[in-house]
Symmetry: D2
Subunit: 347 residues, 4 copies
């Protein structure tokens, strides 16, 4: 193979040749349009990287079982953390765009209509692959409307297809459901998983402070962990997730715990980015109508971003688990056999 | 004066001797309570610094006039930017608290009841001194309730007193109102401030895109800049603020423009901190009731923090100005005499 | 127990009453002295937290053995990561101090002489407890000199005592040395640890590119992993650390690997803080003499901070391990018995 | 003009089609090569933006005079601050690359040889356009060597050409030199600029503390501000820069002061990025030889990055000014005529 050089390897000719401001076509020299273009191209490069990592995590999660004795779970944790780190960086990137003043933006803003960040297919694919379901989204199907300023037909098909395939969330649920530690065979006839759960609920209700309504909490607990589940999760999935949270100190759960925390971090950093993006837009265009629609007061159909901020949490079910934790010292007994399964061979 | 040394100067004996976890009093060793205490003490130290800067800015703004030929305006800008930088740091400080897991927090959380961050008097003083009015607050008077987990009588009096004194916002309004550049005497009989405004409104309406309703915008414009003003600002204050935004390139407006931008930055960083604080709490305690009240779904009376995030913007009026900007090249003419006033002596 | 409230719990009376600028004593009103005091008090609060975490990690590491089947290793990783997060925040805190201009600092700088950050005992304790040995330090014993602007006799004794006790680094070395996976008894008579190392070295030398000198690398490898060790680490400790890096995907090594990475992160964030601190000082006082001594050009005895930046790395031995890694696919064979020890019971 | 859409406008087809890992060509699947490519493409996009801003600042500074009564100086300040903000973000971007472990990097590192970041032409252009002179660089001409792993002939010519054209630094010097405020005609026969400087030096020497050698400082002062100048700056340029620092509170100097501070910020953020980049590389490849050459111990010819960190400061002369500041209350008198020139027309 011939010697490789930096600029050929990175295709700098293509990447650095792709900035084409439109303001000169309108006879206007809007200096900051370049910043606008570069910033959004950088966004899209990082989105590509996030999709690449999501796909690799999906691939591992899709296997029939994840062998704890390989590096699979470690790899998943590393990659979800990497995606969270990228979102964190994207949040800070908003500092750069804010060096452009509203008046500077106005110089070229109208030339871009009706294009808008709303049309970023990669962003929608990220949401879809992570597991945001249409039914949970703010505005329902609106986010892939194909009208003026909307997505193209091809993109619409592409996003819809991603929604039908397994997502991080559906695969996470399946993985939680098939987790063996709360299955009967590991427990004893005296100490069944069901009895454990009853004892746990009792300890939980005893831990409530007097501002909290015991009855409501009891019903909620039964609904979530026994009858109906929570959000997109079945009761079995919720029970396993709770079990991981409580026994994270045991070897077998250390990486699964880190996986759940990494997903929460991903979700939180994405939300912070959404919030900062919204703040920035409100400062930049005030109450003007963007194509995607932005409105600080959230009073009309246009306030898509604000609605999405509130509704489009990806793993709220996991965050809500904190509601049902109890102190380690109050944990009910579990069988020795189960404890042994949670540990290393060599002990 | 005797030689001074680092530790005496900084009163480290007092500062580093003020961490007293309560979990040992309950026979529990909750390692992370120390982190909880230190984090909140650091918050309060920075709050003290913010109040110190707010007071100094209030003092300058309270003078009958701010002499543009002194360093006064430069000092104000520097200090508001400093406060914004502190809020930015506080936002990042949440990363530290998030190294504590919900289960670690649970080890001592109940021992702290009913104490809560809701009782931080300094935080409420910051809001009051910056200019958040009771009427604009989420939950009205609730933020200084004196019941269980509320503020003390002394603190209540202290906060209420701060609310009756001039605030950054009221002094900003007064400063904008007395700004001379839109006063008749500098203009000519042909080119009056009123005619300028009419011409400006015409240019503004012409700049709207076809998703925006011209009639609504026209009424809104007249209401804000002529008849009623906007939020806490009179029409005269709104007009001056708009004028500064538009003519910020002229020497006289460079620091005033930076002042307005610094206030927006302060407001934005405080909002981001509120948002991150809310995220962190929701991850930490889920849907459990905090004394101040936190609820991810925002459906009951407890969701104080979430309501405050939405309502307690300090300078939304300034952010909204972006709605009414027009491109520099469309600006109507202004008299030579006014332009001269905006410049330096030496030209 | 009586109801607890926020301000009593946090001893705000003491913490917020400990700011006493000295400039008024000299008849000068130096506004920014408050920022200087608060910033340094916040530093010291975080230093206290770091020492608290270091002590807790030392306690765990000091046990005869760390049981992999408890949460001990998870706790260590969490706490070292927390300390790294604190250093990261302290690096960013420099943004705040930089809102003070050199001229503003000059208003009170001379009143503080000869006090200086050089006198922070907590900072020196952190270095000592982490494991920076006197012999490795820039300037040898200079960092605890007791002359003008130096540390007090009590502090000197305090720091010296910490240096004689076990440190993170000495305990890390001991933990690496007693790690069983490279001990003969787990291996076979055909496949001994020694043969593994020889095969590894061969693969390593084969991986060098043609800019690297094979002879030098071979000697270096033997010196570090067989004969002498590296820095403060014995050959046995270096071998175990290398083994962890290479087989981190196996369950038993996942947390140990995270531990090593967390230490590197701690070291790196502390270095970045040192660097930013040095930059800030050079901008603030130029080439003026500080008590601790700062000199951008590093040419005289005063350049303590610059020397420390270069020399006072804590875990350079671990960073240097990257030199000796080879690609996963080139790893020599290890016995099935060893592999089994690296895994979970349940497989 | 036809409707524009997001993806066409941003040329996403080209930008997102430019990632071509080489590890598959070697039959290896190195997952993290994608991250490596994307990270470096993002670097180069931001470098393009920095060059774009540098060019626009150069254009303004190249005019015969900068009219204080236009927005020119405000624009320069905004753009230099923007470049500093980009460097700050690039420093944080290193967090992302550090989610790749040394072992992960090793999977594809050898396939890239001899390509390296050393070959980034844009980075060298930034240094050249900002004003880093060959003579001040670490390693002299080495940074544009054309051998193995070096720059191409075309690139060499391109960089050399940039070095011969006016740079931010040479234009800054010229702008400082032609600044009128220290020119005789504005002063009186009793109070000449020379007398002012003598009085200033007296006040400066009186302000030294007793660790500083008066004789050395006096000579240095005369050398820098009267006889030889400092670094790339003439005595006249140094005097003007000092004058701006001291009288920054006057209207005419507010933006020039911000300009100098922005340049220092640019320089500092670039240095922090260099430092973090060096840390990251040392963690990633240890003491292995990179093409550009990296060596933590800085003992051989390869330690280019470490040498550059120390030597390649861009505006050290401005940072050094802090050495010669005196307290505002000690400033010698200046004529009323000069003071008037520093103010606004309207006073």
């Amino acid at each position: 193979m011939p010697d490789i050089d930096y600029s050929t390897y990175l295709r700098l000719h293509e990447v650095l040749g792709a900035q084409h401001p439109v303001s000169p076509l309108h006879g206007v020299e809007a200096h900051d349009e370049m910043l606008f273009i570069v910033t959004h191209q950088v966004y899209e490069l990082w989105f590509k990287q996030i999709i690449y990592e999501l796909d690799s995590v999906l691939e591992v999660l899709q296997r029939d079982s994840i062998d704890d004795n390989t590096g699979d779970m470690g790899i998943i944790v590393q990659r979800v953390n990497r995606m969270a780190a990228i979102w964190r960086l994207l949040g800070r990137q908003i500092d750069i765009l804010e060096t452009m003043s509203p008046l500077d933006f106005l110089e070229f803003r109208n030339f871009l209509m009706p294009a808008s960040g709303f049309q970023s297919v990669q962003f929608k694919l990220i949401e879809a692959k992570a597991g945001l379901r249409v039914a949970s989204r703010y505005g329902g199907e609106y986010y892939k409307h194909m009208g003026h300023g909307g997505v193209s037909e091809t993109d619409h098909a592409h996003i819809t297809a991603a929604e039908t395939r397994p997502t991080i969330k559906t695969l996470l649920r399946a993985w939680l459901e098939r987790m063996p530690y709360l299955m009967k065979k590991l427990w004893t006839s005296d100490l069944t998983p069901r009895r454990f759960l009853t004892a746990y609920r009792r300890a939980y209700l005893a831990s409530l402070n007097n501002l909290e309504d015991r009855e409501t909490r009891r019903d909620e607990f039964s609904r979530i962990f026994v009858r109906d589940g929570h959000g997109d999760f079945t009761p079995a999935a919720m029970r396993s997730a709770l079990f991981i949270m409580l026994y994270r100190d045991y070897p077998v759960f250390q990486l699964p715990y880190q996986f759940l925390v990494a997903l929460l971090e991903f979700d939180e950093q994405l939300s912070i980015w959404r919030y900062r993006h919204l703040m920035m837009l409100s400062r930049m265009i005030g109450l003007r109508v963007g194509t995607g629609g932005v409105n600080r007061e959230g009073k009309n159909k246009d306030s898509y971003l604000e609605g999405a901020l509130k509704s489009n949490r990806l793993f709220a079910e996991l965050a809500d688990l904190s509601t049902y934790l109890i102190e380690r010292r109050m944990l009910p007994q579990i069988p020795v056999g189960v404890l042994r399964e949670l540990g290393f061979a060599h002990s």
